[in-house]
Each structure stands twice: as C-alpha cells, then as structure tokens.
C-alpha cells in the first residue's frame, strides 16, 4: 500500500513537471506504436474489406486463422522479426535491428490480425445492408469495398484503436527487436520492465500509470469524435 501511494505521488509529480526523461520515453512509445498502427491499418483495412466481400474455397479457414492470430504472442512475433532483421537474416542489410523502425514493424505484425479481423466483421455486416444497392448501381467489387470502408469509418476507428492499445501495451516484441537501449529504443513498457527488475517499483508503477493515462485519454478523444460524427452523419 505504501508503495502504491508513493508511486502515485511520484507519477503525478513526473507528469506535472513534464519530466524530460518521461516525456522522451512516452513520446517514443507513441511514435513507435503510432507508426505500427499506420502501417498495419494501411494493409489490414483493405485486406479485411477484401475478405468480407470475397467468396472462395477455404475462406472460412482463412477467417478462422486470422481470428486466431489476434492473440499472437508478442515474444514470438519479436523473435521472428529479430530473425528477419538480424545481420544474418534476409532483411539484415537494411540495418533496422535495434531501431524504432524495427519496433514499429514488429508491433504492426502483431496488430495486423486484430485490425483485419475486426474490419472484416464490420464490413461484412455492412455488406448485408448495402449489397443490393451497390450492385444495382453496377459498382465493381473494389468500388464496393472502397465505399464500405469510407462509410464504416467511425466503426473502423474502434478496430484501429484496439490495435493501438495492444501495440502500445505490449513489451515482448519491442524488447527483443528494440533492445531497450536508453534514449534510443526505450519505450514505456520496456522501461517498466527494467525498473521493476532493478527494484525501483515506484518509478515502474509511475510509468505504468502514465501509460494507462495516455491510453485512456486517446480512447476518450476518439470516443468524443465518434459520437459527434455519429450524431452528424447518422
């Protein structure tokens, strides 16, 4: 109890003072996970829409695998990306290992299935409603997918945020491919893990509180934008 109160105090102190170290770590966290979400969303939203509209043998299996991959273990993803990017690996020459870019790539792989699977569900439900109208207008499959993605933009933002939440909170993948290098690849979760192992529990807890605070704030903002848009667009 003492620890928790103490760390609460420390957390507010750090946030209040905008402690430079804390700000740097939090900023890097947002950059890495923001980049991951961007990368994953650009690929996963069209893929989810395609999967929602396509009909081919084995489609059910693809959906089952995709849904299953929503729970990919971060350390395993980290390991795979590590093998790809390590000097002897196929992408070794890019020199990305232990950089923020490598961390974004690992997180993007981790959350691609989340965004794609949720988008597939959203678009498929919408397709039931829109199908006849769009086909009557002679829209091609691709025009249908495009129209549905834009029309479902408010619902899809929730899928993207779910991906962001997962990315910013995971530690296993960024630890392996980033290396937790102070000032270079140290993000909130790896800092928490480090401080905990060093025994500095108040600082670890403070960082944790900041992380939760950030995630809640982002979701609040997104929710506000969404309900405004819903009221406006129906």
């Amino acid at each position: 109890m003492q620890d928790i109160l103490q760390s609460l105090g420390l957390a507010f102190n750090l946030m209040w003072r905008l402690d430079p170290n804390l700000v740097a770590i939090a900023t890097l966290s947002l950059k890495v996970s923001g980049g991951a979400v961007l990368l994953a969303a650009v690929l996963a939203l069209p893929f989810g829409a395609w999967l929602a509209l396509a009909r081919f043998p084995g489609r059910d299996a693809v959906i089952a695998v995709l849904n299953g991959m929503m729970g990919l273990p971060p350390v395993v993803v980290g390991l795979l990306v590590y093998l790809l990017l390590s000097r002897a690996g196929p992408l070794g020459p890019l020199g990305l290992l232990f950089t923020p870019a490598a961390m974004s790539i690992a997180q993007a792989i981790l959350i691609f299935p989340i965004i794609a699977a949720l988008a597939r569900q959203v678009i498929e439900d919408a397709w039931d409603e829109y199908r006849e109208q769009l086909l009557s207008l002679n829209a091609t499959r691709w025009q249908c997918a495009e129209a549905l993605l834009w029309d479902m933009r408010f619902s899809l933002s929730t899928s993207v945020l779910a991906g962001f939440g997962r990315a910013v909170a995971e530690v296993g993948a960024v630890m392996i491919v980033g290396g937790n290098i102070d000032g270079v690849t140290r993000v909130m979760t790896t800092a928490i893990a480090l401080e905990t192992s060093k025994g500095d529990l108040p600082l670890a807890l403070a960082l944790g509180l900041v992380l939760i605070f950030l995630v809640v704030c982002i979701n609040f903002a997104a929710q506000a934008v969404k309900s405004y848009a819903r009221r406006r667009h129906g």
Binding site: E132, L137, N138, D151, R232, H233
Partner: protein, 234 residues
C-alpha cells in the same frame, strides 16, 4: 442510344431451398409503360423484380433484353433506401461516378435533387433525412442515372400519405421524361393511380397481364377479383 426494350421473359423460374418462389412466368415489357406488379404479401413480387433487374439469377427460363449491356440502362429503388454516410449530393455523385458519367456530374446531381424538391438539402448528411426524403433522394439518384427502365419495389410501403404523394409525383415525372416504370405494390389504390399495365402475381405465378383499365373493370381470374374486392388471399 439503342433501346434495351422490349424485354422478353419466357417461363422464368426461381427456386430456393426447395421452395418455388417464382414459377413459369412469361411476359413482354414494352417501352413507355408504367407496369405495376400487384399481388398479396409473399406472392413473389420482390423476387420477380430482382430477377428482372439481375440481382438474382433465375433457376429456370430465359430473360432477354433487346440490347446488350442492358444493366447500365436500368436503375432500382428499394423499399428501404440505402444511403451512404455522406451528403445527399455526394450520394448522387457516387452513383454517377460508379456509372462512369463524364463531365458535369455536379450539375447533373444538383438538377436531380431539384427535381425531387431536395435542392435545399443537398449538403445534408443523407442518413439523417426523414424516410420520405430518403426515398425521394433514392429517386433522384435513379433519375440522375437517366435509366431507360426504372424498377421500384414498394417504394412507398413505409411512408405517410404526404410522402407517398410526393414519391408518386416523382415517379410520374420520371415516366414523362422517358423512363419505363416497373413497380411493385400491394396497395390497390396506388396501382389504380399509377398503372398503365398490370401484372397480377399470386403464389409465384403470373395470373394476369393486362392493361390496367381492363384489369380493374373486369379481372379475369377469381384471385384478382377477390384481391380487388379487398379479400385476404393466401
């Protein structure tokens, strides 16, 4: 522009899950008519319209338009209008873009809105319009496409008398502008007001195909006579 009419339908059938929804329907659709498909609930009116428009594939019989690429010269208005989450104007522009319309699509879209009396609501998000306004918007969208044949499936089924009147006026105006109208209804009053020709459907079979006047003056079948008298059919 070559006419896609007349349409010649021979022995058309549609069976789904062992249920013969449409059986042995033969008819000829000439240019310039306002044909109303009349019949009790469950007679197969909606399915017949979707077969004619090409949204459903017949399981038997033939359906032949007079020109190739007939689909591009048809439009359909559904019982419940499906609007995209964008402005009324943008909904019409979407339809024009998908149809590959070149040049002044904005002017064409605005003209269509004016014709149904929705000019002042052009920038309003389509999904927050009232049911009657949305149905008129659906008509404007169809009008902008300048179809040779316009299908309407119970376009006023969920509207109040004033909105129904407005929609019927637009249908008449589109007919005067050159579109051949094919619409379903289970409302005899509406059929009397709008039909030049009548198709009476009962339990998936076409029982009568006659000029409207003759149909109402002297129906040939017992079912049609009972339906006109307002008796319940099953």
């Amino acid at each position: 522009m070559t006419s896609i009419l007349p349409l010649s339908v021979r022995d058309l059938g549609f069976t789904i899950a062992g249920h013969e929804v449409i059986q042995g329907v033969s008819l000829d659709l000439a240019a310039g008519s306002r044909t109303v498909v009349l019949g009790p609930n469950g007679a197969g009116k909606s399915v017949l319209l979707r077969l004619l428009h090409g949204l459903l594939q017949p399981t038997g019989g033939t359906l032949r338009w007079a020109a190739a690429d007939a689909r591009r010269h048809q439009a359909m208005v559904f019982q419940r209008p499906v609007m995209l989450r964008r402005s009324a104007l943008a909904n019409i522009r979407f339809a024009l873009d998908v149809a590959g319309a070149k040049g002044e699509t904005d002017a064409r879209a605005r003209l269509a809105l004016d014709r149904v009396g929705l000019g002042p609501l052009a920038e309003r998000p389509a999904r927050v319009l009232s049911g009657g306004e949305q149905q008129r918007l659906a008509l404007a969208r169809a009008w902008a496409l300048q179809p040779q044949v316009l299908f309407l499936d119970e376009p006023t089924a969920s509207l109040d008398p004033a909105a129904t009147r407005a929609v019927e006026d637009v249908i008449v105006a589109m007919h005067q502008a050159g579109a051949t109208i094919v619409m379903t209804t289970h409302d005899i009053g509406q059929a009397r007001r709008l039909a030049t020709d009548l198709l009476f459907l009962h339990q998936g079979r076409l029982i009568e195909a006659t000029p409207a006047e003759a149909f109402f003056a002297q129906p040939r079948s017992a079912e049609a006579a009972a339906f006109i008298r307002g008796e319940l059919l099953w």
